[in-house]
């Protein structure tokens, strides 16, 4: 039987999320990491932005759904900058200037990402082409195979 006091101590230790190496700080999060802005409109702007920013310490998660301390600090940056009157695009640009396009999930057409946009267009054309060929030729029913 583990005594309750020991248990409580263990549980308090448990509050700290151990990282990959078991190393993690015990500092409280930055003020706006887990705290919403009072103005619902600004908070909505901040939330929308946070959902499109990548958590750099995590894998495939946005900073809006991560418990990593760094994601918390990034949320603090986003919220306090929004509060200071910066626009979401400015904040995104600020982060991209520091971490490159990797930090942003927002699709942007540039010399690297253009195929992401060209391929859907190509697919639309391809689909339209197939539909016209397959379905548009009903007059020649029984004729040559498409």
């Amino acid at each position: 039987m583990i005594r309750p006091a020991v248990l409580a101590a263990l549980a308090l230790l448990a509050v700290v999320l151990p990282g990959p190496l078991g190393a993690q700080d015990t500092m409280p999060p930055a003020p706006y990491a887990y705290q919403q802005l009072d103005d619902p409109k600004l908070e909505a702007e901040a939330t929308a932005l946070m959902h499109t920013l990548r958590c750099l310490k995590c894998q495939s998660q946005s900073i809006a759904d991560s418990d990593a301390p760094m994601a918390g600090d990034m949320r603090h940056q986003v919220r306090s900058r929004i509060l200071a009157g910066e626009s979401p695009d400015q904040i995104r640009a600020w982060l991209i200037a520091r971490y490159g396009d990797y930090v942003s999930y927002q699709p942007e057409v540039n010399s690297i990402t253009w195929p992401l946009f060209a391929v859907p267009v190509l697919v639309i054309l391809l689909v339209a082409g197939v539909l016209l060929r397959r379905l548009g030729k009903r007059r020649s029913d029984g004729g040559e195979a498409a």
Binding site: L7, Q35, Q36, S62, I112
Partner: protein, 660 residues
Amino acid sequence: MIAEIGLAALWLAAALAVLQMVSGVMALRVPEGEAAPLAIYTRPAAILQAFLAVLSFALLLYAFAITDLSIKLVASNSHSMKPLIYKVTGTWGNHEGSMLLWVGVLAASGGLLAAFEKRLPERTMGATLAVQGFVALGFYAFLLLSSNPFERLPVPADEGTGLNPLLQDIGLAFHPPTLYAGYVGLSVAFSLAMGALLTREVNPSFARVMRPWVLGAWVLLTLGITAGSFWAYYELGWGGWWFWDPVENASLMPWLAATALMHSVSVLAARDALRTWTIMLGVLAFSMSMLGTFLVRSGVLTSVHAFAVDPERGSFILALLGLYIGGAFTIFALRAGAVAEGKRFAAASREGALVFNNLMLSAILAIVLLGTLYPLLTEAFDVRVSVGPPYFNPASAIFAIPMLLVMAVGPLLRWRADRPARIQFEILLIAAVVIGAIALVSFFGSYPLLPLLGLGLAPALAVAAVLPLRGRNLRRVPVATWGMVLAHFGVAVSLFGMACEGAFTEERLAAVAPGGTEQVGDFAVTLEGVAPVAGPNWTAIEARLAVRQDGGKPVILTPQARSFWSPPQATSESALLTKWNGQLYAVIGNRAEDGRWQLRLWWKPFVTCIWYGGILIALGGVLAIAGRLRVDIKRRRAAVRGAGRRADLEALQPLPVPAE
């Protein structure tokens, strides 16, 4: 001894896979009707191999259940203090065990096919089983040469290292085997497609053999994805239910291909059209399964769900992928040109609608595939990019929305050719519901475009789903048709859940002192206290939340922040309060220095519809299988009874037109 028997069974099964392959090929080399001397071994080999592979897996299950720490795999993935259920499910919570499950299911489905499927010509069957044996052989080689699950430790370990705590969850425990069974079910579709292609037997009777396998795999994939999404929702602690993560996409891609295949195989079975396309999708669906396995196992892509990553194993799976899929596409390119075009049809016909939806599903598949693999491509040039929800959502919606609209009217159309004017009432009704719902929602507030469109489409799809039943005697509607109605209705329900979650979710993040109250939606949530609790292999802090709706009676919720000690890792156990119209989602976070606790609260209206919809879709698939099987069994009985009167029957019933 357990480990040795398991290993021996695996080697024997591998040997039988060789026999199955060789004798299947023998069957292929003689003309139909003549007996090949070796070909008689194909079916028994497949059945025995299934038995041995399943036995091997059962032995590993047993080793995990009793925590046999002399086996390396058990020692490095289990722990004697774990609850029994997670000891057992831990069998497939690791690379070797899950690959053994993979081949176990593969062999079992091959065995079932060999034992019960008597409708196909022997040559096609031989080719099919040969392909099945060939695929199984690759995975046996993989297991035996690079990931032996039964490897012994020189000295038994004192204690195991435990299982990833995220996997110690009942939802996730059964999610991988469901998905795997789905993946592997598609291997049968693949083998059948290859068998039919090799023997030039792409015809409706082949499609009827393939259909239950595709349906079955599709049902399992649907359930697996639904369960995985629900797991991510309540276990990751942020209320998200789909992250477009590479591993999630890896399960979605085979589902998209299987959905397309399921519809095209129905067209082939009913109308003898879309022959090449069906073969193509059969190959594609299994390719996506293997690609999924590759992406998850190799770690070439970063993912939240990557649990067992090893580049060496990645190379092995990639080699298998190249062998099977490369081989299949080569045969496809060489042979498909020789498959005669099936029956033709008009644009406004059931087939026309199905072709349209097939193309849309394939387009979505292409988008998901591109978005998932694109970061891999840019990394080859040392540039890292992020492709996430802001790309996938709109890009897939471009194709999903037309698809859903056509899905609404497709089932109302007749086969071969129809006049749209005949169903103008239905079309107008569906259009009216779409426009009405969008207008109604826009009247009450402004919402993002995609959820808004979803809210418009969902009720229309629900109405459209039941329209095919209009004017029919419900008792005489075939079971399979009920299946379709239910599955399409499930799509509407699921879409409704997604759209509501996207449009109406309310979020409250706050630091709360014990005794403090926060408001989210209609709910007042009071933090009554925080206390430590202990489980078998974890400790946690547990918050006691009293939730009052509009000042009513309080309901107690107890979210936990759990800390596992072997291996050391923390998880948040969210607490959910389910109402008829949504879910309250509560998470307890860290304690701030001033003694307040971080609470995360969400009110998510109708979010549960997402998964109820998924279950309805799967249930629709089950009904479709049941309906088809019933018809098949009836037919078989009729065939047996009619054996004596065959001459009469043949006189009455014209023979089906043979495939050119």
